[in-house]
């Protein structure tokens, strides 16, 4: 964006009174004060929350919980969850490191979520959509059987109802505790994405920090339009592995949304404050083609 716009946006973030009351501040941090992960400044938790998790000082986009993401994207009260009854098994009885069954239980307790993704029907700017949001707190939002199944069903639901799909994605990649069943979720979700594309129903992906591994290499990058949040880390191989492979330091900005925009891999980098409006604008435009 032009620098003047950036300043204006920053001023707005600083001084504009929030248009809506703060949502339960207990969801963001334990204390009243939190430290920005970008500029390390101490911020009032309420300010950070009102700013949708964007640091008023440096613009750092902090991770959002699934509920916060739904609130910022969807029309108020419109989200209607589907497939909320699906629960992960422990098909490999994975015991190396933290036993998988315990990891799932701990993640459920910590997040109050059944799994790393929430999917459902919703409205965005009055438009019916199928929406899916991932929560990085849940085992790094890794994709196992349930995440793969819910994502695949979200594609199918959008296809059956012929309404656009919007996915807000974050993930560390495939969930290794489910072994090959996880790897195959990549093929499964990609196949579902291909069907939606063939049916001519729009799919907009919002890549948030971080989107890595098997999720980037499957449904996340098969969208009609790929939007990313500023500073989001997006890639296939983890940065430490890349560094070990090339045996030199990684350049600044490697695997960021801005770098990938420069390399032609994504369509847009959009600040969180204008994300919802941008996505609605895209949907309106893509949906108008058939009329």
């Amino acid at each position: 964006m032009p620098i003047s716009d950036w300043f204006r946006a920053r001023e707005q973030r600083r001084y504009t009174a929030p248009s809506e009351p703060p949502r339960g501040s207990e969801s963001l941090a334990d204390g009243v004060w939190v430290r920005c992960e970008g500029c390390k400044r101490t911020l009032y938790a309420g300010d950070l929350e009102r700013g949708l998790g964007v640091c008023p000082s440096c613009g750092r986009h902090h991770q959002l919980t699934a509920d916060q993401r739904i609130d910022m994207l969807c029309d108020p009260g419109s989200f209607d969850e589907i497939d909320g009854d699906l629960r992960s098994g422990d098909p490999l009885e994975f015991r190396s490191g933290k036993p998988y069954a315990e990891a799932i239980e701990a993640a459920q307790d910590n997040t109050g979520l059944p799994e790393a993704v929430l999917t459902g029907r919703a409205l965005m700017g009055g438009l019916p959509v199928v929406v899916g949001v991932m929560d990085f707190r849940f085992i790094g939002a890794s994709m196992g059987s349930v995440v793969g199944e819910r994502i695949a069903r979200a594609f199918e639901s959008a296809c059956d109802r012929r309404v656009p799909l919007v996915l807000a994605i974050a993930s560390g990649g495939a969930r290794m505790q489910e072994g090959m069943l996880s790897l195959m979720q990549m093929a499964k979700t990609a196949a579902a994405a291909a069907r939606l594309a063939d049916a001519g129903v729009p799919y907009v992906a919002i890549l948030t920090d971080p989107t890595m591994g098997g999720v980037t290499a499957s449904f996340a990058t098969l969208a009609d339009v790929i939007v990313a949040e500023p500073g989001a880390r997006i890639g296939f191989a983890g940065p430490r592995l890349v560094e070990r492979t090339i045996r030199r330091a990684l350049p600044k900005g490697f695997q960021t949304a801005e770098s990938l925009l420069g390399h032609g891999m994504i369509d847009l980098v959009v600040e969180r404050g204008s994300l919802r409006e941008t996505v609605i604008g895209l949907l309106v435009c893509l949906a108008a083609g058939g009329e």
Partner: protein, 323 residues
């Protein structure tokens, strides 16, 4: 003796190789010195046979992973030379480059014309460098996808050979969209209107294998593996110790036998005791037969039914419950 000594030895084979060497030297002694060692030799031969059988019939997952990486194991190039005829390699992704780590081309299998895709590994340093040790760049996947679409357009069945530790985790690879290239292969492979038969011949490392690694049939060699993550990487993530890869191999359930049990592999092709490198011609022949049989089965299906059943196959994968 020289035969034994020259052979590439996997760490778990060491006790057997030591014993084999001892047997060889005894035999040598009896010939050269005319010593009467017939009884000792016979006893040692029996011992070697027994150890060989025990060792190779009770392979751990980690030992199978080592066999899958054996440098003398038949690679994609060997299958191309042995199982197929009239091979025409097709180069380049029409976008940026030609990646030698990924073979793509046309060939005859019996009376049938097919498209072939496969990860390539070398036998010596020059080949290994040329093939980037079997790890494709984005260009490799884009070439593979181009040839998938070519096969789709002209009704050629697709046969793929998996043998990679994974997609190359390089800096430029990330900048050029490694994830995008793999994702696009997955989408395309899911909807090509021709039969797709995949053979796991060695390593099946993660997304780089999956990009050409699913379809209407999955055939696995007895000692091939297919995994969401390499055992070494898994051990590093869980314990910060790559040395615990043996333990991770067991946890990941990555062997051909595991895949068959989970319903992911349709067929496991047996290997001779010790691995495919002991008798490549027989193994490659068996693979050729298995692929031809799978193509016969699939050829009977109309294209619509074929892609519908491929989709159902994928959709059925996963374990979860509904509360």
């Amino acid at each position: 003796m020289s035969d034994v000594a020259r052979r590439f030895v996997m760490e778990f084979e060491r006790p057997l190789v030591d014993l084999e060497e001892k047997l060889e030297s005894l035999k040598h002694l009896s010939v050269v010195e005319g010593a009467e060692l017939a009884v000792e030799i016979a006893a040692l031969e029996a011992e070697v046979d027994e150890l060989r059988t025990t060792l190779y019939t009770s392979l751990t997952p980690w030992e199978r992973v080592q066999i899958s990486r054996h440098p003398e194991r038949p690679h994609t190039d060997d299958y191309l030379a042995d199982v197929f005829r009239d091979v025409i390699e097709l180069h380049g992704d029409r976008l940026y480059g030609d990646d030698a780590a990924m073979f793509a081309g046309l060939a005859s299998l019996g009376t049938r014309k097919v498209a072939v895709l496969g990860h390539r590994k070398g036998r010596n340093t020059t080949e290994n460098v040329r093939y980037n040790f079997g790890s494709p760049h984005p260009e490799g996947f884009r070439k593979a996808e181009r040839v998938m679409l070519l096969a789709d357009r002209f009704g050629l069945p697709i046969v793929t050979f998996l043998d990679t530790a994974g997609a190359y985790p390089g800096l430029e690879d990330e900048d050029r969209g490694q994830a995008w290239a793999i994702a696009s292969c997955l989408a395309t492979l899911s909807r090509v209107r021709v039969p797709v038969v995949t053979v796991g011949i060695g390593e099946g490392g993660s997304g780089g294998a999956l990009a050409i690694g699913f379809g209407d049939r999955l055939i696995m060699l007895e000692n091939a593996y297919y995994s969401v993550i390499s055992p070494e990487m898994c051990a590093t993530i869980l314990h910060k110790e790559p040395a615990r890869a043996a333990e991770a191999s067991g946890c990941l359930q990555l062997t051909a036998q595991d895949l068959e049990r989970m319903g992911l592999a349709d067929e496991v092709v047996p290997e001779p005791l010790g691995g495919a490198q002991r008798d490549p011609v027989t193994v490659m022949g068996a693979v050729g037969t298995a692929v031809a049989r799978a193509l016969d089965d699939l050829g009977a299906l109309p294209a619509d039914a074929l892609i519908a059943s491929r989709y159902e196959r994928l959709r059925a994968i996963g374990e979860y419950s509904s509360e």
